[in-house]
Symmetry: D2
Subunit: 353 residues, 4 copies
């Protein structure tokens, strides 16, 4: 049977708001590349920004490009130098492609490579029937891992990286912001031995999900003094760990106020501008440790994330619900722009049974 | 009501096998000391050695001395300089008393103090109606923590210290030896995010308990090639973490063979002599990390252990069952010498309802 | 010979600018305290703030109180419970007195104790003939350590803590701000294996001292684009380590811009208000680690600092020059307020030969 | 000018003692490989074992193969996919070639790859006019680094890896065994802020070199009780860090006895059989940390090592002296087999001026 020459792809075709369902050539692969038939892809907040064509998107995206960087699928073809996977294997992929020779790559910090390119942002991504991936970036999956979980390993990796960037066992935790990564971070923290987990979030639906994911206390920060509440429930000390997932300046500031002296803050949420910090009281006198979190460590985060999943330590079911064929992308994007508290999956090759 | 002047105490009164239930004065306390009325005390393997008067005991123990270093109770009296606890508080204690001024104490490594003295070994301990404890060593407990759990914080601390002496989340683990500390280590490792936990143990009853505590695979090392089995179930790599709880030379050697390159071994079990190690293949070429585990970190292990308990992350129920008034100590010691797979609690002030 | 009952002391006697040379009682010591005859004391920037009676001082200082928290001396008397030192011993002291029972103290983080009191700030200090110190805080010194070095172990400890709060061997370093602690940090970083050390400082005299202390490149940040220069000399990557010693918002911001992705920033300088940080580009996308630095670790920083000094690894001579009897304090404070680039020593018990 | 088709190479041609200076084809390179014209190569202890054809060699070496894994040279040709270096660049190389896809490679621990192949052991090496290297393994050098230093980066990397496998600044150190790597470890430890460095070594010439490299105390372990001496000079505590470079069982045992409680041992020397360790007293009760050291971390050890060299922090001159053209290899090997305390360089392309 001859391989198809063209495919459906959800693309940014012009420097303007919106996306287009287009016909594109099936990618040709090189000797060290893999072609994957996409089973399910998931919409990231970044995709919403690109859809909306905000300032960041205007500076970064060079149309035309196919979006999509969270997905799973089955290997369709592998280049002749590829030994780690073969057609039929169930896979996901790290979509951050590192250069291998910059200072950070040499230091084993490929996730902050100076020359990073992102598939689905800088190159054609996974909102299509097929996607091309360098063999080193392919992550082979145990077939026991549910397909919907496999489609969101990219953001789950963000959460795992953020949680494990310091001690977590026996630690009290505050998660500020309960979007999908915040929600996953709650589950990961509990699976890794955190004790009390607090979550702050203005959206009621998301607070409800936070509890379903394992948060012990979910606080509406506009309705209650979250810092006072957290201090009170931690013997006055504050939490051991802050996982900042909102990018909201007020949440960041409150998070630091709720952090105990000697505590650790993992910052993942992306503020849109500078943030005024009370460095003296919140970082210096506190002897705090702050970790910037970007991407996922390549590939020890993947190893640990996969081990947690394979051992059944993470229940991510509350995240899922909405799904659509790729063609119905408009409704999915609209739902997420409305603050939907979960992941929406797109299916380019037909819906699952 | 006048305080009693004497009390029951289980003592080593002579340099010979056995223990004596004696009448002893209730300890007088200094300004920075606390007198605790013992609720429950637990028998440690060390107590069995002292009972049996083995070579180690003969070199260390200076009779007469009251044994017992695992316990919980209620503060009866506190010296005039004591501010952290007051009569009526529910407490346990770190029974290792450090000097505060040696090199290790200055470095924050009080658990390996050069001048360590142990209450219940070097000074009168908790197999009595009352025990005297320096205020710094008292650990105040949330009343929500079950009394039987509170009585075994000393060995639980050993287990927590061993497990958390390196990364544990998303790690495969082998526990060699399923005595009480090994069993607790299984529960702690699972609570802290380990993935597959293997346990090796020759005693069938203990293997059964290992499964109840959360082990995924319990192996009889004389009946099966444990190294081959573990390698096979870890994709050929071996386990990320070895928790050595047996002190048995063959188990130590097999444990190292089952450890992956780059893995971490926590050694806690006490061999009776030198152990021949294949350092080249098991440590050097493997780039392994080996951690000697003694006591519990003072007091960050206590903080984390308490946090895990308070958050309900540890189910230790399978450990318990047998209990006796202090007077019936002989039966308890005999049962444990027979290989009983669990903790036996003694009650010097009456059995609980 | 009867002990003197009164002594000279440099005190804040009123809630107003200035200090008073007063007569005060020689402190009476408790059983666990030590009385030290002060040999040399050093003026800290904090003392300048209290002299000038700024807003911070007005909120913290409760007159009357004797200032002075950097010093060395000889034990005059020791309480009856004190075993670690005896009269005649050459000593300095950690002037931060921790409570021993708060959450951080229990975790081994006494330097960020919730109930910290500082001798020379909250209690009578070392700008006097005698000072009273808790025995646990006394640091016994090898007589081979020069007296002037021994008088500045408090700020040297700040520098050592800041430098060793992350990897330093083989690392490129930027020190922003070359006051005394910045200058000491340069020497410590070089002694601990840093490669190229950059320093930024607007004061020309301090830049000259920075070179004397071992800086490879000293930059006037108003006269040159320090970020461009540093990037250019680090192959475009930026420095591995930022040691922020200025508290100046612009210096902090430039320091973060000069930090490489994956780098570590130790923040010690105290800004007077909030600082606007570009968290996205300078911390999050960079995967940076930020460490708040307060005081000195109790007491592992002291152990390492002493080891470096005893081994002759630190040449601090360029810091010294000016010295005065306690009575001439006015001139010393005036000189330092003028930006003098070094430490000024005061001698309450007569000038050294 | 046509490239030469053949070259001189020092090869193991038969499964027997000795080496042969042979004519071999100049290696053909692939698209991602580099051909290097060798300037200087250095003889490793491993080469002596292969020369002597010991049991290990018989199991590992498959003749014919060209030896040599310590070298520097100039890029002669680069494959078409190579971007990081170009002809004329001064380079060395990591000769351990990792697979990139095993568990350890995925975890960023390429130096302990499960499928490691070593150039100069498993494939043709650098005792030849030319050597072929994968581009990822090439390490570009600053021309300011002396040629003789550049020829020994492989063992210097072993030393740096061993020293930096734990804290070193302000630490007392014992180096057991003063062969070339032990001698380099002394220099590295001093450059990275260690305080007192002790060295034990039976060979007098090597003890003298140890002092030249920076050791404070060099002990003949057969003539003096090294453990007693070290304890006495460390206030009774023992050293903070043991760097075991001998592989000798007695030295390993004494090294552990001289290690303080809480100390760290880096084991690099290769014993020929099992070693009996007093695990209870030397590891477990001590709370010691033991690190197996193999190869060099890829490539953060290289980054740090290069930074130390470029900053002039390492004086390795005492190591050098003997050098020979490749043709005179027999004399060089004989000298080293006699216990010569230094590195011997071979020049396949003519002696330097």
């Amino acid at each position: 049977m001859a391989a198809a020459a063209t495919m459906k792809a959800l693309r940014k075709t012009q420097a303007a708001r919106g996306l287009t369902l287009a016909t594109a050539p099936v990618p040709a692969i090189g000797a060290a590349e893999v072609l994957v038939r996409v089973r399910a892809a998931s919409i990231c907040g970044t995709d919403l920004h690109i859809f909306g064509w905000d300032r960041w998107s205007q500076g970064r995206i060079k149309p035309p490009v196919t979006l999509g960087h969270e997905f799973c699928g089955v290997v369709e073809r592998a280049g002749e130098e590829v030994t780690a996977v073969k057609p039929g294997d169930f896979v996901s992929a790290e979509m951050h492609v590192n250069c291998g020779h910059c200072h950070q790559c040499r230091l084993g910090e490929a996730h902050i490579c100076q020359n990073l390119r992102i598939i689905g942002i800088d190159e054609d991504g996974a909102f299509a029937e097929f996607v091309k991936i360098p063999a080193t970036n392919i992550w082979k999956l145990d077939p026991a891992i549910p397909e919907q979980y496999a489609a969101i390993l990219d953001p789950l990796g963000n959460a795992v990286h953020a949680v494990l960037a310091g001690p977590i066992a026996g630690q009290t935790v505050l998660v500020t912001g309960c979007g999908p990564i915040g929600l996953m971070a709650i589950a990961v923290a509990k699976a890794c031995g955190s004790s009390t987990v607090f979550a702050t979030e203005v959206n009621e639906q998301r607070r409800a999900k936070a509890k379903m994911m394992g948060a012990d206390v979910a606080i509406h920060p506009a309705a209650e003094d979250s810092v006072a509440r957290i201090r009170s429930e931690t013997g006055g000390a504050g939490v051991d760990v802050l996982l900042e997932m909102s990018g909201n300046p007020a949440a960041i500031q409150q998070g630091f106020k709720a952090l105990r002296a000697g505590g650790r803050a993992s910052l993942l949420g992306i503020p849109t501008g500078s943030v005024a910090l009370d460095l003296v009281n919140d970082v210096i006198f506190k002897g705090a440790t702050v970790r910037g979190i970007y991407g996922r460590r390549m590939y020890d985060t993947w190893v640990k994330m996969t081990a947690l999943l394979r051992a059944g330590r993470l229940n991510l079911d509350p995240l899922f619900g909405e799904r659509a064929p790729l063609e119905k992308f408009e409704g999915a994007f609209t739902m997420l722009q409305g603050g939907h508290a979960g992941k929406v999956l797109l299916y380019p090759n037909g819906m699952p049974r």
